[in-house]
Symmetry: C2
């Protein structure tokens, strides 16, 4: 028997054994994992529209223009798109975002994708909806820095947006308003859903995840990550204490901040309730692999490092390199494509002369 | 005869007279104006490629990614696209652009469209080409703020661009280099040409300009504007003194600037030659109607105002409202569409972990 034929024989025998054993057990395992996953996660819906509002094309188009509009901010440079940049999967690649006049914001920017589906906006949850966030950002001294909604409305009229609002909100007493700024931007943001391989998987296509990603999904569930990171957005539906086993900054390297008079205590800064100390909105994990750096202050640069720290801080577990790699492979399956309409920058009106 | 039939008769007679006289004289006038225009202006070429370089798809794609890349700047926020924004026709809508860490730049940003066809880059012409501009911006303390090209190359490698450069510049000893950063961005910028109604007109379609725009073109030529604003980019091919009849700041409202130790004296600040005092590159006028505010310091907000001031400052002429309106209509015919590939923001690499 030559080396070659020996190899062939050995290969064929192995194949034959696999043909008997593997498909059955793999299929069983696949179905069991899929069933487990379906109990914890849901695929993205077709729309994130509010029941009582309609995402008309004119509203979405207006909201998209306003999303990219810098001239409403007080230094003329800040737009929603500054921190939610199509080039960086709807985030900005910075540890901490920067508002008008170079003012550093206290927290890391989330991706805008799928954010309309979250329980609330911001890490502290102090914005009840995407519409609420868009309106309140107008007067935030760190964000758009306007002094009143009247000032905003005057700017929008001067820039030539009156007819845009008239068409988007026909029949209203005052179509051009800060409230409709929020509604229009909200309408646009509600279209920014990013289906991913994991959605295909949840819909029954077990081949949509690689074997490593499935291993990671198993570990993600069995280790306890899915206790908080679950639902349609794999997180983003509840608040949790950050730093269960020890103070988070000991592992993240986070620093004290003047605005918080020390370390960031999350919801506490909004509610002033000690029970909310260190409670943060659990971030959604959709598109997490495409949106470093990590945590509320962007203090951790890479996803494997973030996964390892989460195991230690939240679950008291030292994940092995193998586990971390597998979880990262699963998290990568949550990356969707940047919506084409989001990446296509609109032409903004030239102010009439 | 009723009122109605009287009107019909009168109308028909007028039509009959026009049918005899108007087409002939209008066609004559149209052809004479077109001939005059063709002697002064040229339509955009099909490409702005350098003869000794080729705009390969991989180079253009790399250049486009680098154009939108903020992580190479020293505050992580500045990209070419910051001042050359697709939303504002390749400019930024600001009077003065802003570099890293909120540093205000001394001059207004030109549109990036068709700029590869100009005699040089910047108002002072101190950058010989788009490639030269892109490379030197990397070390400018006001722009990207890097301390060395080595630092830039290290950043680009860490961000995951090595394979992009290897593919775009195969066979070179060092594909990932600051020099090739410039070449790639230059390749992308050389694709950003914006044909306009005026190009159709120059190619013989006399209906591509409205009657008012044609009147404006006549005035533009006869008044003397075309003395400097001529050629393929309707300006941008020479240097001229700004403020022939009087100091420019008396009409523009420009202010003294610390960086210039007084008023901006244009090329003088680069050459230190008194003969260059107040000499500025004549701006191209393609897309001028879409890129307010105006002049080297953005001191004038609207196009009619800018046209009126130019008449006074450069030609000693007080243009009538009628002339200004007509010239503005002509200038509006120089607006082209934003190139689709420019408006589509690319996905940038996530740094490998």
């Amino acid at each position: 028997m030559t080396m070659h034929s020996k190899f062939i024989t050995k290969f064929s025998m192995t194949t034959a054994l696999l043909a008997l054993a593997w498909p059955l057990s793999a299929a069983d395992g696949d179905q069991a994992l899929l069933d487990k996953a379906k109990a914890l996660f849901q695929p993205l819906p077709a729309t994130a529209a509010l029941e009582n509002s309609s995402l008309t094309p004119t509203r979405v188009a207006l909201g998209k223009a306003l999303f990219f509009e810098t001239r409403v901010s007080n230094d003329g440079r800040l737009a929603c798109a500054t921190c939610h940049n199509p080039a960086y999967h709807g985030a900005d690649s910075l540890a901490l975002s920067v508002g008008i006049n170079g003012k550093v914001l206290p927290r890391n920017a989330h991706t805008v994708f799928n954010t309309a589906l979250l329980v609330a906006q911001h890490y502290g949850g102090n914005r009840v909806s995407v519409e609420d966030q868009a309106v309140k950002a107008l007067l935030s001294p760190l964000a758009y820095g306007n002094t009143s909604y009247e000032q905003v409305e005057k700017k929008l009229a001067q820039l030539g947006y009156q007819s845009w609002f008239d068409k988007a909100y026909p029949g209203e007493a005052k179509p051009l308003s800060a409230e409709n700024w929020g509604k229009a931007i909200g309408a646009f943001e509600r279209t920014l859903l990013t289906p991913s391989p994991f959605d295909k998987y949840l819909k029954g296509d077990t081949k949509a995840l690689s074997p490593l990603a499935k291993k990671g999904l198993t570990t993600f569930i069995d280790t306890g990550c899915a206790g908080c990171h679950n639902g349609v957005t794999v997180g983003g539906q509840s608040y949790q204490k950050f730093g269960i086993t020890q103070d988070y900054w000991k592992l993240t390297g986070s620093t004290e901040k003047e605005i918080f008079k020390g370390y960031d205590k999350g919801r506490f800064h909004d509610t002033k309730n000690e029970a909310d100390a260190f409670m943060f909105k659990v971030p959604q994990l959709r598109n997490v692999a495409a949106t470093p750096p990590y945590f509320h202050d962007g203090s951790v640069a890479t996803l494997p490092q973030a996964v390892r720290i989460m195991g230690q801080l939240q679950l008291g577990k030292d994940l092995s390199d193998e586990d971390v790699n597998a979880i990262v492979a699963f998290l990568e399956s949550l990356t969707g494509e940047v919506p084409a309409n989001f990446a296509q920058v609109p032409q903004l009106p030239v102010a009439p002369h």
